[in-house]
């Protein structure tokens, strides 16, 4: 393929990648920002979203778009409820101590992953695309659905931004993020806010999964890679910054697409991971921006 179309293709692929990645990373960043904890099980909520999408859509016969829409509604809700339940059952009792929380979320990671294996089996599960249209771009073809993924992600990101900036709930979140003790003193029900945020973080990742699953397939081991990429995005983009997260997701998504196409995808991952290491080394408190550790 010639260089021009080659770059066009890599950019389109990169954009799809970036769109989903920014959703996953946004969920992680939200939890990171408001609760000041690292949720290592985040990738498993993504996986849950994907497998639930398959499960839900397999009940709906007829037009695949119906099953997809139902999945888009149901899968994030279930994933969110499971997350809130694990917050209530476990994280609350650890008083969100950063190190204990990391260890506990590693535990949650294995439990969700293995429970998915027990319940849904080890096979990769396909979900039919809601519409199966191939756009012929002369040098190569591109699925129209992939454009839809980009579009839907942008809508979702905008709505999260609206919620954060314009609603009362968003105000509570921002207040808690800024200073949880003062927020509590002003009567904000911190523990409810934490539960909701943890659930919302998982639900946003699950939405990303429902969007991607008609392109890829649902598989119980699929949570690992998006987790690492989301870490990378959140750390490079800076914490709690929606714009930073999206910018970093586009950077990582595009460069992954381009480096993958020109060199090797493994090399792309190595470079992205090293980039994070150096961001953290240069800004040792990079995780928490300017706030206290």
């Amino acid at each position: 393929m010639d260089l021009g179309p080659y770059l066009l293709f890599a950019s389109l692929e990169g954009l799809v990648h970036a769109a989903v990645l920014s959703l996953i990373a946004l969920g992680l960043s939200l939890v990171f920002g408001v609760m000041r904890i690292v949720n290592v099980a985040h990738g498993e909520f993504f996986m849950l979203g994907a497998i639930l999408a398959w499960w839900v859509s397999s009940f709906v016969l007829g037009n695949p778009a119906l099953g997809f829409l139902l999945a888009l509604l149901v899968a994030p809700i279930i994933a969110g409820i499971i997350a809130m339940f694990s917050d209530w059952l476990i994280l609350k009792h650890l008083k969100y101590d950063p190190e204990a929380t990391i260890i506990a979320t590693i535990g949650i990671l294995y439990i969700i992953q293995q429970a998915a294996l027990m319940t849904f089996g080890p096979d990769a599960r396909p979900v039919e695309q809601p519409f199966n249209v191939r756009l012929d771009l002369y040098w190569f073809g591109f699925s129209a659905y992939k454009f839809f993924v980009i579009f839907a992600s942008i809508i979702l990101l905008l709505s999260v931004w609206l919620v954060m900036a314009k609603t009362k709930f968003g105000l509570l979140l921002r207040a808690t993020q800024l200073d949880s003790e003062t927020a509590q003193a002003f009567g904000i029900p911190i523990s409810t806010v934490y539960s909701l945020v943890f659930g919302a973080g998982a639900a946003i990742a699950a939405v990303g999964a429902v969007l991607i699953v008609p392109i890829q397939q649902a598989h119980y081991l699929m949570g690992g890679e998006p987790l690492l990429l989301a870490f990378i995005v959140v750390i490079i983009g800076g914490l709690g910054s929606l714009r930073g997260t999206v910018a970093a997701a586009v950077l990582i998504g595009m460069s992954d697409g381009i480096i993958s196409v020109f060199f090797s995808p493994t090399l792309a991952k190595i470079l992205a991971t090293l980039l994070v290491v150096f961001v953290l080394l240069i800004r040792p408190n990079g995780l928490f921006g300017t706030a206290k550790v």
Partner: protein, 428 residues
């Protein structure tokens, strides 16, 4: 020093004997062990991909194995002894594979071990089989057995290896598909066998390999690899494994649409995948290698009919109970045939227990012609005792109206290559 170590062993055994005289003899495990009579079952350790990226193969290897064991046991088992399968998940991970073999040998006292497909698991496990002196019958189609890389305890009598397969494909591809080939293959031992042996065989035919695209076996999206396919490619030769094969093929179709170079694929790219999945229409007219044709063909033998029925596979290669549950038909016959070979080897060698393992291997090594029969439903085979590898017919099918229709059957001779090892010269 060497002497020292022998003394040590004897003392250990001795101590064991002393202890056994005491309380340990009362433990149930010991009682059963000492009663190993002629009616006790033959235990076959079955290393299976229950989890990990090989799970679809594992499920069907398991079903085929259970079906074969039922047929064999109904017919009287091995010398009147029933076969018992001890299954152990290897997680499609070489490290766990090796540990599974240890369990077979030391915990379950299995007579032999058998199983698994993914080449990295076989390569990781086989040395342990050699150390445990446990005959290890693999159904992996990798060339690692016949290449001499493994050991005398590892045999592959039930399925042909990649080197045979691709060598037999090369003339057909050049004559009927095209002369400039780009290969897409998984980036580990199995894929490297494809890369090395197909390109050698194809170039020997006067063809040209214009591109090689390796893909990590854990990859989940593939579009980004397709721009690496050179424009002057006439044929895309694809072979992919893992849970994401459907994504791979779909994205290939999306990328090229109707303007695709011709396609020649190993059915591995679509094992356990329903060919009528939306998005796969572009495959119509493309050719596939199949170890054993998934769809019942016009010239179906009575043996294939019997085997298909016993395993519970319909004429479209899917489970009779769930038409969406498509089998790994091109590979799983290897389990059936291998179990029949183990039975025959045990009967011919008068196998009585683990002490006769070497005799069993010698008996299998002395096998040669395996005619088409109920025991060999895929077709006749010729086993090479020196290289521990079997050779047999290969099938090329063409996707026609959503079904794979037989286009060409290679001869067994097409798959021959000079011996690279003589395992019979190795000691036990």
């Amino acid at each position: 020093m060497k002497k020292n170590f022998k003394n040590n062993i004897t003392r250990r055994k001795l101590m064991k004997g002393v202890a056994a005289a005491g309380s340990i003899a009362a433990m149930p495990g010991f009682v059963r062990y000492s009663q190993a009579a002629s009616s006790s079952p033959i235990k076959i350790g079955f290393q299976v991909h229950r989890t990990g990226i090989g799970a679809a193969y594992g499920r069907w290897y398991d079903r085929t194995t259970q079906a074969a064991v039922k047929i064999l046991n109904d017919a009287g088992g091995v010398n009147g002894r029933p076969i018992e399968i001890v299954a152990e998940d290897d997680g499609t991970d070489p490290k766990r594979g090796a540990e599974a073999l240890e369990k077979f040998a030391n915990q379950h006292n299995c007579d032999v071990a058998f199983g698994t497909l993914f080449s990295h698991v076989v390569i990781g496990s086989a040395p342990r089989a050699g150390e445990l002196k446990l005959p290890y019958f693999v159904v992996s189609e990798g060339h690692h057995v016949a290449s001499g890389m493994l050991n005398r305890y590892t045999l592959q009598p039930g399925i042909t290896d990649v080197k045979s397969q691709v060598q037999a494909m090369a003339p057909f591809v050049k004559e009927n598909v095209g002369k400039k080939v780009t290969m897409i293959y998984p980036d580990f031992a199995f894929g490297h066998d494809h890369r090395d042996y197909f390109s050698a065989a194809f170039e020997a035919q006067g063809g040209e390999i214009v591109g090689k695209v390796p893909i990590p076996p854990t990859e989940s999206s593939f579009s980004k690899y397709f721009p690496k396919i050179p424009r002057d490619t006439e044929v895309i030769y694809h072979v992919m494994v893992g849970p994401a094969v459907l994504t791979f093929v779909k994205e290939l179709g999306e990328f090229y649409g109707s303007k695709s170079p011709k396609l020649f694929g190993f059915i591995d790219s679509l094992e356990a995948v329903d060919l009528n999945t939306p998005g796969l229409e572009f495959l119509d007219g493309s050719y596939f290698w199949e170890g054993n044709p998934r769809y019942a063909q016009a010239n179906q033998t009575e043996h294939d009919k019997f085997y298909r029925n016993a395993v519970g596979v319909d004429a479209n290669g899917a489970s009779v109970s769930d038409p969406k549950d498509v089998s790994t038909y091109a590979h799983m016959f290897g389990c059936w045939e291998t179990l029949h070979i183990i039975k025959k080897g045990m009967e011919e060698s008068g196998y009585a227990g683990p002490g006769d393992r070497a005799k069993l291997i010698e008996a299998v090594e002395s096998m040669s012609n395996m005619p088409l029969s109920q025991a060999h439903p895929q077709g006749a085979k010729i086993f090479n005792g020196k290289t521990h590898q079997t050779f047999g017919h290969q099938y090329i099918t063409k996707m026609t109206n959503g079904k794979l229709v037989l286009a060409h059957t290679t001869s067994i001779e097409d798959t021959f290559y000079p011996d690279e090892v003589d395992y019979t010269k190795q000691s036990f």
